[in-house]
């Protein structure tokens, strides 16, 4: 598959981001092919969340531009939905209101948005919990609510900021498998921030390795041979293991 033929859903061009004197991103360019999952992987402080928030339009770039489907963006838009690391649920609202909240803010009327929400609550496996409150759910279930909320607005681009880092290991593995199916079945572009090498290699079509001081894309890795294999055999695949090893070699010098 030649890269040139793949259309990009999101393009980041020469983006700089400074926090006062601190340079978080310097001249960063990256392309996110449509319908694929791209991970931003790197040690803490490499600016991966900053980059994701700039793409989301939550943070302004100091310089440079972000294109979503060819259109320059500088604020949140209906073409992107965000999944938060800490879930960002409203504790005072039931699951169904949380899931429908994106639609509520878009002015969709109550019965319509709730029927959409019910569908996505079912998709993420939370049927029966529609009227529960977040404090009654486990961490994994809370993130399912966060995911359902992002899916329910039906944006072509899904931005995920370390979505599985606050859930336990078993749940995380299940989420990773679910995510693979989601990428396969939904025609959406996923941008996925993680600091887990295994997770990045497992779920991604493309891994962008970000390195700090100054932040830059050091390498783009496209694991391919195990992509069409059975989900259960990926973790034993030799390319999977080699890729994990290769990324670790690049990263280890940056870990004190």
């Amino acid at each position: 598959m030649s890269n040139d033929q793949v259309e990009n859903a999101v393009t980041v061009k020469n983006v700089y981001k400074n926090y006062g004197d601190v340079e978080a991103l310097r001249d960063l360019s990256l392309e996110f092919p449509k319908g694929q999952l791209t991970s931003l992987l790197g040690p803490s402080g490499c600016g991966k969340t900053t980059l994701l928030k700039i793409i989301a339009g939550l943070l302004p770039a100091t310089q440079g531009e972000v294109l979503v489907n060819g259109q320059q963006v500088n604020k949140p838009g209906p073409d992107r939905a965000f999944v938060f690391q800490d879930f960002a649920l409203m504790p005072w609202a039931s699951v169904i209101r949380n899931v429908a909240f994106g639609l509520e803010l878009r002015g969709v009327n109550k019965s319509e948005r709730e029927s959409i929400a019910i569908k996505y609550i079912k998709d993420v496996g939370l049927t029966g919990f529609e009227h529960s409150y977040p404090h009654e759910l486990s961490g994994g279930m809370r993130q399912r609510v966060g995911l359902a909320r992002a899916l329910s607005v039906d944006s072509p681009v899904l931005l995920m900021d370390e979505p599985f880092s606050a859930v336990d290991e078993q749940t995380r593995r299940k989420f990773q498998e679910d995510l693979l199916n989601l990428v396969k079945n939904e025609n959406k572009t996923f941008i996925f921030v993680t600091h887990s090498i295994e997770e990045a290699v497992y779920v991604s079509d493309q891994v962008a390795l970000l390195l700090p001081r100054p932040s830059r894309v050091s390498e783009i890795i496209k694991p391919s041979s195990f992509k069409n294999k059975d989900i259960n055999s990926i973790r034993k695949d030799s390319e999977y293991l080699d890729t994990v090893e290769r990324i670790w070699k690049s990263l280890r010098s940056y870990v004190e």
Partner: protein
């Protein structure tokens, strides 16, 4: 579990009132009537309708003052919480209001606003408003930033963020401030009646003190405390109903 907590409440009440009754009977002080004497005085006042007339007077500045404090206080508090500049400008006023010895300021209020309702409402407001404003502003400032970001990322306007995120998120602490403010308002209302012009419950207190009718005096004090407790409980119930998921200690 409900019956257990109910039982504990009864027990706690029985202990306090028992100690009161005991202290009254053993004659700790000639001015301390027993609990039962005070209750009898309270019943007498209720039958004669005196207490209702008194509360008609007392509640007027209290209700007006508390309503003004709640609405203006929460409004100012939200604004202070949202704007750093406004915080700079306004917060010191309320910190001073809260710290100032109110009794010493009452003569000034009387000179400015006379001895009528206005001064009393002012006293209630000075007592109630600072804690409402300060609590509200702190609560607004402490809204988790990720939930605000969430609303922005799902295309919420500034107004959506304030009305649908910041206010509900701040509401438990706002309500806590409201409860403190209301109880301070009760103190203010009685203080105003004792210090400005004796009316209502304050009149019963000062008059029965002068005539050494101590059971009536304690009955009046007891009734105002009882009213405050009932009112605070109602406020808590309202809060529970309004913000169901919020009081469960869930921090996102």
């Amino acid at each position: 579990m409900l019956s257990r907590s109910f039982f504990l409440k009864i027990l706690s009440g029985a202990l306090i009132f028992g100690a009161w009754e005991f202290a009254g009977r053993t004659g700790v002080n000639y001015a301390l009537p027993t609990f039962l004497e005070s209750m009898k005085a309270l019943i007498d006042m209720t039958i004669s309708g005196l207490i209702f007339k008194a509360y008609a007077d007392t509640l007027r500045p209290l209700v007006v003052g508390v309503l003004i404090s709640a609405f203006i206080g929460i409004g100012i508090g939200v604004w202070v919480g949202l704007s750093e500049k406004f915080d700079w400008l306004i917060s010191p006023i309320f910190i001073i209001m809260q710290a100032a010895p109110l009794a010493a300021l009452i003569p000034l209020l009387i000179m400015a606003y006379g001895i009528g309702l206005t001064s009393k409402v002012f006293v209630v407001c000075i007592m109630a408003m600072p804690v409402i404003v300060l609590n509200t502003s702190v609560a607004v400032k402490n809204t988790p930033s990720s939930v605000k970001e969430m609303a922005r990322s799902f295309l919420g306007s500034r107004k959506d963020v304030i009305l649908k995120i910041i206010i509900p998120s701040a509401s438990p602490v706002i309500f806590a401030g409201l409860r403190l403010g209301v109880s301070a308002g009760f103190i203010g209302a009685i203080l105003a009646e004792l210090k400005i012009t004796p009316t209502g419950v304050g009149d019963i207190i000062s008059y029965s003190r002068m005539t050494a009718d101590y059971p009536s005096m304690y009955a009046a004090i007891f009734s105002i405390i009882l009213l405050a407790v009932i009112f605070l409980n109602i406020l808590e119930k309202i809060e529970d109903v309004l913000f169901k998921g919020n009081n469960q200690g869930y921090i996102s």
